[in-house]
């Protein structure tokens, strides 16, 4: 290969927070998706849910290609979490702020990917803040401080390409990829 660097990035987080939407918003290739008709409470919000993985690619700098993997959100698919996390150099954790307990939701992914994140980097994207503004960013930083973890937190609308790229930028800044 030439001077191209490829880096694996994971989009994980709450069911319905927008992982599939985010990857579709920025991918330069036709994304691979594994959506299935939802039969549980997900169906009240959206028709389908990810059961395998999402895959897309985006070039951020000349020579740096991000390979984007989206996990299923629901806990019963944690077998996929383990498979997908292998070799990842960064984690984007998306949290749906309109659910009853977003901070508890966040803890599921921070706990599950703890070792992976400790060895790489993470950024937290808070979504659907137009539906629910609380908890606010301060509450997230407060929560991370209590856990003695430091990750950038930002509110995003993952339907917007710029917002998703901003998440990736801050993830890349918190780590030198070479």
């Amino acid at each position: 290969m030439s001077n191209m660097t490829e880096v694996k990035i994971i989009f994980t987080g709450t069911m319905g927070a927008g992982k599939t939407t985010a990857i579709n918003a920025i991918s330069e290739i036709k994304t691979i998706s594994t959506e299935a008709v939802a039969t549980d409470e997900t169906a009240q919000r959206k028709e389908t849910t990810t059961v395998g993985m999402d895959y897309g690619e985006v070039t951020v700098d000349e020579g740096l290609v991000l390979r984007l993997y989206g996990t299923p959100g629901q806990r019963r698919f944690r077998h996929m979490w383990e498979i997908l996390a292998k070799g990842a150099l960064g984690f984007v954790i998306l949290v749906d702020n309109a659910r009853p307990a977003p901070l508890e939701d966040l803890s599921i992914y921070l706990d599950n990917f703890k070792n992976h994140i400790a060895a790489s980097a993470a950024v937290i994207g808070v979504t659907r803040t137009d539906v629910s503004a609380q908890p606010d960013i301060d509450a997230y930083y407060q929560y991370l401080a209590e856990r003695e973890e430091m990750h950038p937190v930002m509110t995003v609308d993952v339907r917007r390409r710029e917002d998703v790229l901003m998440l990736l930028d801050s993830l890349l800044l918190s780590r030198e990829f070479e």
Binding site: S33, T34, A36, V37, T39, D40, V51, G52, R76, F77
Partner: protein, 139 residues
Amino acid sequence: MNISDGASPVEKLKAAQEKQQVEKALQRLLDMCAGATGALVATADGFVVARVFKQDIAEKSLAAITSSVMSLAEALVNETGQGPCQNLIVEGQEGHVVSLRINHTRVLTAMATRNTRLGMLLSAAKVCAEQLASTLGEK
């Protein structure tokens, strides 16, 4: 968590009825293929609909993995231009596993001992999936 959790009484009744129909069909599959050790129907999003097994299995995990691998097999076949996916066959050292889609929202997984002829398992599973497709409809 179960497919009928949090559902209305009518939905619960429907789920119970479906479970019964599916169990019967799975039992026929096991009768048809002597080496078959078990079979399960899952929703496409990974919940158990019904199962018949000769030994204990972690049915919830199996249902979730069934939906994941089926979706990935379908992505693989489509991506390589070989679609649509008709079935998924995995040969393990200790036995065979096959998965087939019944309809838009239901997936079948069946397994057999390694001495079983793969063709036997596959054809029994296909018959079962076709029967269930006509009983349950195309939903």
